[in-house]
Subunit: 318 residues, 2 copies
């Protein structure tokens, strides 16, 4: 058995405390530059995204199409009634927080529909600025060191939004969220639970919906026209996009690119089973948060895929 700690072939270099401090300072300067750059990218992209948003509004059923073809979201839009309401979704607007542009509200505009009275549903993400951050004054570039401490989970709270359902049409009740004894969500139910609940069960914040979903427009413009699932293949370009839950791989051994969109609070278990061909096998893997992966699939076989989403808790014992 090998040693747990492989020593260096020379004495371990050590740094004086002053040097350590100097290095930490440089590390912070790097983080500062990266954050300022992130913020400038948000600004740079904003007018272009706005232009796109206006364009997209003209395309009938754009949003429901993008959502049904969006990696991840499609999984959560299984019920027909959700799909029917979302056909009347005409716009999703992103409103960035003035103090912290990494935080934004999402404003969903609907045309008249048989389900609720509202024309606008707002999912608000409330940014709680710490008192130390409030006190710190920004430098010339608008930067505060406390901005590096920003953490979505700690500093942002997703607020519920009341929906004025028409009589007998409350989809959040009809398709209720199912929570297990640990408080983990077993079944998300109607998409509209996302508006009406505290928190962000669909992890839309990590997408963010209006930006990322509109990127799915390529599914309409043709490049990815046949995509319907949470998985997509990227190499080689001649494999059809694998639809879940059954995938038929036509060529030789292929790698299939699967994208999982989740926020870092879930693990996804993907099982696949070879349901035809000479062999039969089951494989289950745990897919980490924010994952994009190549998975090997074998040609001429069918794969039955099943996906289970579970809130991620690395501290929880099995």
């Amino acid at each position: 058995m090998l040693n747990a700690k492989k020593p260096l072939p020379f004495p371990e270099p050590t740094l004086s405390d002053a040097d350590k401090k100097a290095m930490e300072e440089i590390g912070k300067q790097i983080q500062r530059a990266q954050l300022l750059n992130e913020l400038s990218e948000i600004k740079r992209l904003e007018p272009i995204y706005e232009k796109r948003q206006q364009f997209v509004r003209k395309i009938p059923k754009f949003w429901i199409t993008a959502m049904l073809r969006h990696a991840g979201l499609a999984l959560d839009l299984k019920n027909e009634e959700d799909q029917r309401v979302l056909q009347s979704l005409v716009d999703i607007a992103v409103q960035r927080n003035q103090t912290e542009p990494r935080v934004y509200n999402l404003e969903f505009t609907f045309s008249q529909n048989p389900f609720f009275e509202d024309r606008i549903l707002r999912k608000k993400y409330e940014f709680n600025e710490s008192s130390t951050r409030k006190k710190e004054s920004a430098d010339r570039e608008g930067f505060k060191w406390t901005m590096l401490d920003f953490d979505w989970d700690d500093d942002v709270k997703a607020l519920p939004c009341k929906i004025n359902w028409k009589p007998g049409k409350n989809l959040s009740k009809k398709y209720a969220k199912v929570v297990d004894e640990d408080g983990d969500i077993d079944e998300l139910g109607s998409f509209f639970n996302w508006f009406e609940s505290d928190g962000d069960a669909f992890d839309i914040y990590s997408q963010p919906a209006a930006i990322k979903m509109a990127d799915e427009l390529s599914f309409i413009t043709g490049d990815n026209g046949s995509e319907t699932t949470l998985s997509r293949s990227s190499t080689p370009p001649d494999i059809p996009h694998p639809p879940a839950p059954v995938v038929q791989i036509p060529g030789p051994l292929k790698y299939v690119y699967i994208t999982f969109i989740n926020s870092g609070h879930h693990t996804v278990t993907v099982s696949w089973e070879v349901s035809s061909g000479p062999t039969s096998a089951t494989q289950t893997i745990q897919v980490p948060p924010r994952s994009e992966e190549f998975y090997p699939f074998e040609a001429g076989k069918e794969y039955e895929l099943s996906f289970k989403k579970k809130r991620y808790n690395p501290y929880k014992e099995k």
Copy 2:
């Protein structure tokens, strides 16, 4: 059996050709903004990296330590003589290409050593600007549309650098590169083959060495002081960093974070075997390029890890 293509619950939206063109235009504007932002980040970080570089020069054996503790590189620095020469490496400088700042040369400065006469070894990456790009004039922000076509593999050539070895000291010969019948590299041999060969067998370009390796300084400054391997654990924070190839997981079920640094031209196969405890099992996964992953490991067991690096060719049949 389900249909391969799941239809939308309404007629497929279609776009007019004019609309498609307009959307493509917006898509290109987004790419332009992102690239300009990438270039401005390079500029913003340059003076900070230079400061760090000067600081790092004062730390004895900084570079060899960073390399031996660098995810990926450590794997390729197995022979003692490579390690001995690299103890005389005092500086790695990044020199960016004026025309295409995404391309750079790496200049390795050595103190006197018993192996070669040179004080400087240069790994040059030659950027071949296309004639269409040459012809296009840049806009006010220095942007050309042809810049979006930049592709490292197609547009950049890594050049060999002659090393003036002292008699009997040629490590590139002593530890030669082994290439299989398909031209794939089976064994990288001495690190100095990287200088003396065409191309970039160690995929340093994707790191880029001087920037990313200096980030490994945290391994010296203490945070990651016990790290010696290509794998690292990130959650929960109390697991010791798993050393390869044998990992002993002390706590309950844990996720171990493994980082693979490779360029997109390799797949890495990781196999692990539970070598103690009530069960015994082997698992092999294919790890995609540029991968950082959580893998589940079980407590109180030992895992034997083995890694196989193979040039990636998705079109190749098995």
